[in-house]
Amino acid sequence: MDEILDGTTQIDCDILIIGGGTAGPMAALKAKRKNPKANVILLDKANVKRSGAISMGMDGLNNSVIPGYATPEQYTKEITIANDGIVDQKAVYRYAEECYGIIQELDEFGIRFQKDQNGEYDVKKVHHIGTYVLPMPNGDTVKKALYRQLRKARINIINRYMATRLLTGEGRIAGAICVNTRTAEFLVVRAKAVVMSLGAAGRLGLPASGYLYGTYENASNSGEGYSMAYHAGAGLANLECFQINPLIKDYNGPACAYVAGPLGGYTSNAQGERFIECDYWSGQMMQEFYDELQGGKGPVYLKLNHLAEETVAEIERVLHIVERPTRGHFHRGRNTDYRKDMIEMHISEIGFCSGHSASGVFVDERARTTIDGLYAAGDMANVPHNYMLGAFTNGAFAGLDAVDFIKDVDFADFDMGDVDAERTRVLAPTKRDDGIPPNQIEYKTRRFVNDYLQPPKVTAKMELAQRRFEEVRHDMETEMYVRDSHELMRSLEASAIMDCADMAAAASLYRTESRWGLYHNRVEYERDDENWFCHTILTKGDDGKPAHAKKAVDDYIVEIDEDEKDAYNNQRVTSTVAAE
């Protein structure tokens, strides 16, 4: 295994789905059920059984809209405010209307959600305004249940192939070029429609630990989706709205205030005081978190040690088996006992991820990108605050619409020269006798991301970042060296990470205002609704570098009252007379 072999195979399918984590499997299932004759391929760089953000499960649905608890109108309003107004509401509203049906389907798959004594979904309030969090105390079963459905539906699964470039022709999608991660053999897949569900760009900033893979996101989500969409000419929206999360320091996993919050846990400063009213992740919340750290009242903690033993035991049980189970090992190693100790938190490295923010490939309410026949869903598509249920639901939209799209089209012709050029690009590091290994290219890129792009954002620093990135890119293109096909995969990831770093700098420089709290805090600029109440769309320019345009925010379908607009800007707990 891992030796570099020479070979190219071509296969055809109706719908190619790239990425088998969360959105991808649902897209595949929906497409196949709607048209059982369609040839649907689900392709993954890892193994669909355990790939993606929910590899080990998920502890809850963070954004469920369940009748009796919330309405699509309320949810659309909440997300519009949480995302600072820059929202095409149609996509959010459609999600809000249809996600309940998806929950019921997941329930039928055998995925268990918390129910009360009457058998009703037991929804909790974590957001600032509404009630949307549905705990999954047995959420470790989610990936297995999904995989069973894929086998039952006879979806064609291709594991351990990494897509590296999309193919286009006749003004629409034509397929994708893929490389086997264990043999370096090429696979050209012709497809009438392609759904991209490759997850976040999670290996963009460098974690404070310095360990390349100690990221918040599943470290296999290294941003290829963003990179491929860019090179294919698709538009990417609001990339400057970075993902930055409040995490357990060093472990770099979620502190899970969404799990602990409804049971009485909360985010506190070093004095054990609550300083934010609401633990729901937003740029505004992260700004308060940052201010507390900088203001001398840090570190910031997750506080559970005031809770009753039974409550702590339940929180511990959920957090130590679901989503990131090594969390238990981590706390044991540091002798941290939730009953006695507060859990130290910090601010994560930056990334692109619409799952928690809004940075993603631009899509409409049917998950269509700006390229005909190309869809995107999940963490890499720009529907804001998507989370796992958003990935499932928008993945469903993509699969359903793709089936309609392929009815009237045949394979688009593409230029074989594109395949040859991609082979040359991919294999270049295998043709050298020595040089720079991919991990050093990646480390340097990501360290510069931290040094120059981590908010608060400063113009001069971001311009320096662009110069440094250009130098590292030159080194990457002329000197990167790999010894086997596994390292070749890492070299391709390094290249995607470099593309994302370039896009992060360019997008952040373009929007000359501050918005989304810490996510796009540009110290030289105030918020500027007059000029910047719009999406920014990044595309690949004719010079091969990022080009920018403004795109108007669609007219709201749910109006936001003047006094509601600032709900997320007023998060700081105002101290009471009693507290003083």
């Binding site: 295994m1 891992d2 890892a46 193994n47 059984k49 355990r50 790939s51 993606g52 590899s55 080990m56 351990r160 991660t181 264990r182 974690p207 630990s209 310095g210 360990y211 390349l212 893979y213 100690g214 990221t215 599943n218 470290a219 296999s220 060093d250 472990y251 770099n252 990131r324 189970p325 090594t326 090992h329 981590f330 190693g333 540091r334 020595d434 040089g435 290994p437 596994h486 995969m489 890492r490």
Partner: protein, 81 residues
Amino acid sequence: MPLAQTSTIVPVVIDDALCIADKGCTVCVDVCPLDVLRIVEGPDGSPVTAHMKYDECWYCMPCEADCPTGAVTVNLPFLLK
């Protein structure tokens, strides 16, 4: 330009006494999202045991959870533990 051989302690540990790679099992290698596990082969090319070949671990645990004999332990990488 020679490449250095820098040593590193890896987080995933296999109990060779429990590992059944010699019977053809490749579960941990199959499920790892980062593809960092491999099977050690004996002099005749036959499988012997699993091991962590690349220090690129997300400490996510499918290898430990899915191992049929409980041979795999995921520790935290030293840099962050």
